[in-house]
Amino acid sequence: MQKEQEHIFVKKLEKHQNIVHKICTFYTNNPDDHNDLFQEITIQLWRAYPSFRGDSKFSTWMYRVALNTAITLYRKSKRRVKAQDYDNISFKIEYEDYDPTADKQVKLLYEAVKQLNSIDKALVFLYLEDKSFEEIASTLGISNVNARVRMSRIRDRLKRIVNP
């Protein structure tokens, strides 16, 4: 029974692993930390799996558990982002239409986002994942109004950084 549950869980995780990888990319700055966080999220997902009742989509449930782990239980402490870390992020992104000005802006934005606190980072992450405010609020367990207020502040902050 346990083996069967493990098999079903790993199959689901294999299918949706991109979500976890994206969270790891967002919350860490180098491949070692990325792998560590992926490992921790996998353990926490498995630990919480009995509570997954299937009334929401597996991917939705996964966002919540994975983000909660990245926000609160991850042991590695936050460290300052170094210059090479931005290159680390940008190497993961393939530019189809390379535009040096936009590239510079994107680097600045990643730099700014990396410095947000872990909850604001989660909000930005879900926004980038094209989630609605309703979904963002329900995933993070905050009110819709709160999500909107915080997002508007983040937007202002990012604007000031890119256009000082």
Partner: protein, 217 residues
């Protein structure tokens, strides 16, 4: 296009460059150990309990004899049992905190659980430091009330000491005792700072974010 939408446009291209783990790799990950902060707090407290337990049995026989001579053997035994029981109670609380953390809770609920963990650890540290300090003070008070017995024991153990100057012998003993007590408590504080406080610092920054979030509502 605003800044976040520019970022979103680039972000959505990350998919194809992400690493991919195989079924086997993912399966192996399930059976590895978690390194979550709360679990580490529980582990460290268990290790600390084992060390205190071992220290109690490692203490040289002379020390037990000394306590016996000073009429403290029974009190020390009861005190040790009591402190071990309280220690076990705290370990139980750490386990309770750990098991109550549901990673599927909302961020706010999760952080409340984390706040509870922090409070328990603080209480545990304060209890250990304050109770150790109180025990040291009580022991020294007991010694000062039983100076004759104390002197007798010291002279018995160190026959070469000058018995003419008993005041100096007693004063040196108390100075030595106080320095040892201060070093002992200092080392305890240092170890707590290294092991527990580093983990608590990370939890504290999370809690501050929770407070900010409440202000926004």
């Amino acid at each position: 296009m605003n800044e976040l939408d520019l970022l979103k446009k680039h972000w959505q291209k990350t998919d194809k460059n992400l690493p991919k783990y195989s079924y086997e790799q993912l399966y192996q990950m399930l059976h590895k150990k978690s390194s979550s902060i709360v679990k580490w707090i529980l582990y460290i407290s268990l290790i600390e309990f084992a060390i205190w337990g071992a220290l109690y049995f490692i203490i040289p026989q002379e020390s037990h004899e000394f306590n016996k001579e000073m009429g403290l053997a029974r009190t020390m035994l009861i005190g040790s049992i009591l402190s071990f029981v309280i220690f076990l109670f705290f370990i139980g609380l750490f386990y309770y905190n750990y098991s109550r953390i549901k990673i599927t809770d909302s961020v706010k609920e999760l952080m409340r659980s984390i706040l509870r963990t922090r409070q328990t650890v603080y209480l545990f540290i304060i209890w250990n430091i304050v109770s150790s300090a109180i025990v040291m003070v009580l022991i020294s008070l007991h010694y000062s009330r039983n100076k004759e017995k104390l002197l007798e024991f010291i002279l018995e153990q160190n026959p070469t000491l000058n018995i003419e100057n008993t005041e100096a012998v007693i004063t040196s003993f108390f100075i030595g005792f106080s320095i040892t007590a201060i070093i002992f408590i200092g080392v305890m504080l240092l170890l707590y700072r290294i092991f527990y406080m580093r983990l608590l610092k990370r939890l504290k920054s999370n809690y501050k974010q929770l407070q900010d979030m409440e202000k926004d509502i």
